[in-house]
């Protein structure tokens, strides 16, 4: 039927529908839906690796020095006699952070859902440039491969933390991982940044130019608004990381002194003079803080859409939601210094950053209250996607509130770089974004693969994940309040000055690791459900969730060009759920306004 209709419109869109070979359809595809799926597959794989790495170093933290066949099986010579080496521990921590932040939650989350949803929800046949989009994916894949391969080289992967502060990252004599491992990290990230820029430019151009008739900016779903602001943040901030990486590369290879000054490493007196390691931190966090929102905003966008659909209510305060996305986006550029309160930065500049950082709490609070009001008096349906979205709002609150302490420089110095910080950002950024990603996968799976995922396995996955996530990250606050610094291989040093504190930290560490293992095993349910449903899941209907947005007006069998006939025309905002006086509890955006009906 769909194919027949497509044929009828051959003149207008003929080139979209010719038969494609396997290679051009599945591998070098320029179709945004296929590219989205490629991003998702790569991200799932990368996420699994990063999760596995975290389990390995959690084992070391909970049972330091104990021999483990598990460790020696995975780490081989890096865990002689089943105890991992100090440098491998730091390498695992570094690559875990890098993959999670950049490859899973930036490339994976934005790459998957911006690609899948932008053309579908604004009514476009594809991205503005299919070729650039394809290149964006291939660069992502290449950078992923380089990053993973760097785990296997003889001197070990980069191991100066995911923030790779120089001089440590610039001096191979200071730590082994700053040799070839660091070089590979820099190459991989450079390609990754190029990929991210190609993607982001494409998203911005597509959203601004390719909206279908009637799709005003103020009729766009919040998902698109979130992707739009995310892409702008990416375009403005990633080049700064690129320049930071290039300057670091120059310091490493060409003997320049951008970040190095007055250094003696081992017995070697270097002649570099006049550079500043703090410069690197400014450049890094100029990306690093917007990066938090690059990770978070798409997740918030996805959950806005999912919560509205499944509570059968319009998202509360649509314009306020857009306003807060824009406010968060803007503010994210002027808060980076809160990562640097203890670097010796001028205290006055510190106070400015305290002020701007705490301002971000306002739009964030608005978003949370709006979510809660949307759920209030809804007719809530608990699909796995809806559960994950509620989980997201919860972790966004729980992780967000501790940010108030960390943004306050006077308090930050007491907990800076301790596990309190680790707890904070894993909950507010890590878990929220991961929950958003899971929610997105469950919700749009029928759009991606034309089949449904199993709901009950989805429930099991959600409950194990949320219990695991809180079980892992909440106790970390107390480890941090006890004063335990992050990136410590073990806490035996505590035994020398405060045995009680040491016992407490070790108890908590054990609890955390056990929860982490449970949560990791829970992800097997997801993997099984995901891959099983791709091939064997029940066939989906066109609009399974009774949703208003445009992607559900396309046929179940995806075609290149999305709509077999003319592009749909939009007449209303996407959140007309349970509108009084209407028969159905949803009105698709393509339905014209009735006589005398107000838009919203």
């Amino acid at each position: 039927m769909a194919a027949h209709e497509a044929h009828a419109h051959h003149d207008a869109h003929g080139h979209h529908n010719h038969e494609e070979g396997f290679i051009s359809k599945y591998i070098f595809s320029q179709d945004h839906k296929m590219i989205g799926k490629q991003f998702l597959m790569t991200a799932v794989f990368m996420g699994l690796i990063a999760m596995m790495l975290s389990i390995l170093f959690r084992i070391q933290l909970a049972w330091p020095g104990e021999q483990s066949d598990f460790l020696s099986f995975f780490l081989g010579e890096w865990a002689p006699k089943g105890v991992m080496t100090e440098s491998m521990y730091l390498g695992l921590v570094t690559i875990h952070g890098t993959i999670m932040v950049f490859f899973l939650l930036t490339g994976g989350l934005s790459g998957t859902f911006s690609n899948l949803l932008i053309p579908l929800q604004i009514g476009a046949r594809d991205m503005a440039s299919g070729l650039l989009n394809m290149l964006s994916y291939w660069m992502f894949l290449i950078s992923s491969i380089i990053m993973v391969v760097s785990l296997f080289i003889e001197t070990g992967p980069a191991s100066s933390g995911w923030t790779i502060y120089p001089p440590l990252s610039a001096l191979p004599d200071a730590i082994e991982g700053s040799g070839k491992g660091m070089t590979m990290w820099l190459i991989s990230m450079t390609i990754f940044i190029a990929s991210s820029l190609l993607g982001s430019l494409n998203y911005i151009v597509t959203i601004l130019n390719l909206r279908t008739r009637g799709m005003k900016m103020t009729r766009m779903p919040l998902t698109i608004w979130a992707f739009f602001v995310t892409a702008i943040l990416g375009v403005l901030s990633f080049p700064v990381l690129l320049s930071a990486a290039l300057l670091l590369t120059m310091d490493r290879l060409a003997g320049t002194s951008f970040y190095l000054s007055d250094i003696i490493v081992g017995s070697e007196m270097l002649e570099n003079h006049g550079g500043s390691p703090i410069l690197y931190q400014h450049l890094f966090w100029f990306l690093g803080h917007p990066e938090v929102y690059i990770v978070l905003l798409p997740a918030l966008g996805l959950s806005s859409e999912i919560i509205a659909t499944n509570s059968r209510k319009p998202i509360f305060g649509y314009r306020a939601m857009i306003g807060s996305i824009l406010a968060i986006g803007f503010l994210s550029f002027i808060v980076w210094g809160h990562h640097m309160f203890v670097t010796g930065m001028n205290p006055f500049i510190g106070s400015v950053f305290v002020f701007t950082t705490l301002l971000i709490a306002i739009p964030s609070a608005v978003k949370v209250f709006n979510y809660i009001t949307t759920i209030w008096r809804g007719s809530n349906i608990y699909t796995p996607a809806m559960l994950f979205s509620i989980g997201l709002v919860s972790t966004f609150i729980t992780g967000g509130v501790t940010g108030i302490i960390l943004a306050d420089s006077a308090l930050d110095i007491a907990v800076h770089d301790t596990y309190f910080v680790v707890a904070h950002f894993h909950i507010v950024m890590g878990m929220s974004a991961v929950f958003g990603m899971f929610a997105g996968v469950y919700h749009w799976f029928p759009k991606m693969y034309g089949r449904m995922m199993n709901t009950r396995l989805g429930y099991a996955h959600f409950w194990i994940t949320i219990v695991g996530a809180y079980g892992v990250f909440f106790p970390m606050h107390f480890v941090g309040l006890a004063g335990a610094p992050r990136r410590y291989y073990d806490y035996s040093v505590y035994g020398e000055f405060n045995q009680d504190s040491y016992d407490m930290i070790m108890d908590l560490n054990e609890i955390i690791t056990i929860f982490a293992i449970i949560a990791a095993i829970g992800q097997v349910i997801f993997l099984f459900n995901f891959f099983y449903s791709i091939f064997r899941g029940p066939k989906a209907v066109q609009n399974p969730w009774k949703s208003n947005t445009l992607e559900w007006t396309t046929p179940v069998e995806a075609t290149h060009g999305n709509w077999p006939g003319a592009l749909p025309e939009v007449h209303r905002w996407p959140y007309d759920y349970s509108k009084p006086g209407m028969e159905e509890d949803f009105i698709p955006q393509t339905t014209p306004l009735m006589e005398g009906e107000e838009e919203h």
């Binding site: 200071a174 070697e268 010796g344 809660i372 110095i413 429930y459 309040l481 000055f497």
Partner: protein, 417 residues
């Protein structure tokens, strides 16, 4: 064998789940239920679980708070730290209220407004008054937090008084070294180029400059010895080592010019500042007096470290090429703290809190706070024994190793017969 069994169990497990899913799907088909139609039973079950979850979460948070303590590191032991803790507690009250309230509302509404047959959702797209309320209230609360926070930030970061004792904490992989300013309460100048075995802290006096020049010219791996090695046709090197030596020589030739410049410009009157400094060895305990203000000057030799005093609520990075400062006044002696913590082995500590290499986690320094009289006695002892001018062998000509010996010690050199 165990691996095989584990593998077998995993494979069987996956197969079992697959069969269960199959069964579930077939039964759904029989009952004509589609995957996207969530049965009311499932819906209500999840709604209830959400409520149970949030209550369990609250219970465990309260249990953790009471069990693991407000802060596991004990009472603040510095003057500003008391203020930090008070502000921290105020913030905790605010954020815990927000945490409990918003999480409760979220999960409670999710529980209460589960889909019920025949009940339509309430169409409620926006309400300016409500939105204004929850924009303004957080803004006011945050304004209070910001004002209080900045007030104590300004106190913490203002300049130390003249009476504050100046102490330098010198960090390198993986230990800390203490230097006290001595009688004049002024730390002597330093320059990293002056570093050698006799002068690990690179203090600057006329003698140390001369000494640095001598050892760079004539020392074991000084310029002359390197030149001789490289020009000796009887020696053969692995190409990589040779390149390294050439680079090293070039670097030293440039550094020595800077040392000569330093010598020419050096003002002898400044030597006094360094000469009365009290220098300790790496890892020697840091002694402080109760109720005495201290200004710490931080230096790093190789990479960034961070001086984290958890009990004094103080932290500052140490950055190569840049001096950073932080001041605090200890208010509790070690002995008093041991009583308070009910732990006779308790000690204050300074830990490295910025990843600095593989042994980062071992890099710490013990800190002891004495009361004023004990401190005086201790100070008298060290100021008699550890003044820089006494520790540093001024004017003694250093034996310069003969170049031939130096070569013999160099294992990379191979003599051609």
């Amino acid at each position: 064998m165990t691996k095989l069994i584990v593998l077998l169990v995993i494979v069987l497990g996956v197969l079992a789940i697959a069969q269960l899913v199959r069964l579930y799907e077939l039964s759904s088909k029989l009952r004509d239920r589609r995957e996207e139609d969530i049965p009311n039973r499932d819906n209500r079950l999840n709604a209830t679980l959400l409520l149970v979850f949030v209550l369990a979460l609250f219970a465990s948070v309260i249990w953790m708070m009471s069990n693991f303590g407000w802060t596991g590191r004990g009472e603040a032991a510095s003057k500003h730290g008391v203020g930090t803790d008070a502000l921290l507690n105020l913030n905790f009250v605010i954020i815990f209220s927000v945490f409990f309230l918003t999480n409760f509302l979220l999960f409670f509404f999710a529980y209460k407004y589960v889909r019920k047959p025949g009940v339509k959702a309430y169409y409620f797209p926006h309400d300016n008054r409500l939105e204004l309320i929850w924009t303004v209230i957080p803004a006011i609360v945050l304004a209070v937090i910001i004002i209080l926070g900045l007030k104590s930030w300004n106190e913490q970061t203002s300049d130390a008084t003249k009476e504050a004792v100046r102490i330098e904490l010198f960090s390198k992989q993986f230990d800390w070294t203490v230097r006290m300013a001595g009688a004049d309460n002024q730390l002597g100048y330093f320059d990293y180029k002056l570093t050698n075995e006799n002068n690990p802290l690179a203090l600057m006096t006329t003698a140390t400059i001369q000494d640095a020049i001598d050892s760079m010219e004539n020392g074991v791996s000084g310029i002359h010895s390197l030149e001789k090695k490289l020009n000796n046709p009887k020696l053969m090197f692995i190409p990589e080592d040779r390149t390294k030596m050439v680079l090293n020589l070039g670097r030293k030739e440039r550094l020595i010019r800077l040392l000569y410049q330093m010598k020419a410009r050096h003002n002898k009157a400044l030597d006094a500042r360094a000469k009365d400094d009290i220098v300790f060895g790496a890892n020697d305990t840091l002694y402080l007096a109760k109720n005495q203000e201290y200004e710490f000057n931080f230096r790093a030799k190789d990479v960034i470290h961070s001086a984290f005093f958890p009990h004094f609520r103080a932290q500052m990075n140490t950055v190569p090429g840049m001096t950073t400062r932080f001041k605090f006044t200890p208010t509790i002696t070690t002995n008093e703290m041991r009583v308070k913590m009910n732990n006779p082995n308790f000690n204050f500590v300074l830990m490295c809190n910025k990843i600095c290499g593989s042994s980062h986690y071992k890099m710490k320094l013990m800190v002891v706070v004495l009361d004023k009289s004990e401190y005086k006695a201790w100070y008298k002892k060290v100021s008699a024994a550890k003044l820089f001018k006494d520790v540093y062998p001024v004017g003694k000509p250093k034996p310069v190793e003969p170049v031939a010996d130096a070569m013999a010690m160099d294992t990379t050199a191979v003599t051609v017969k």
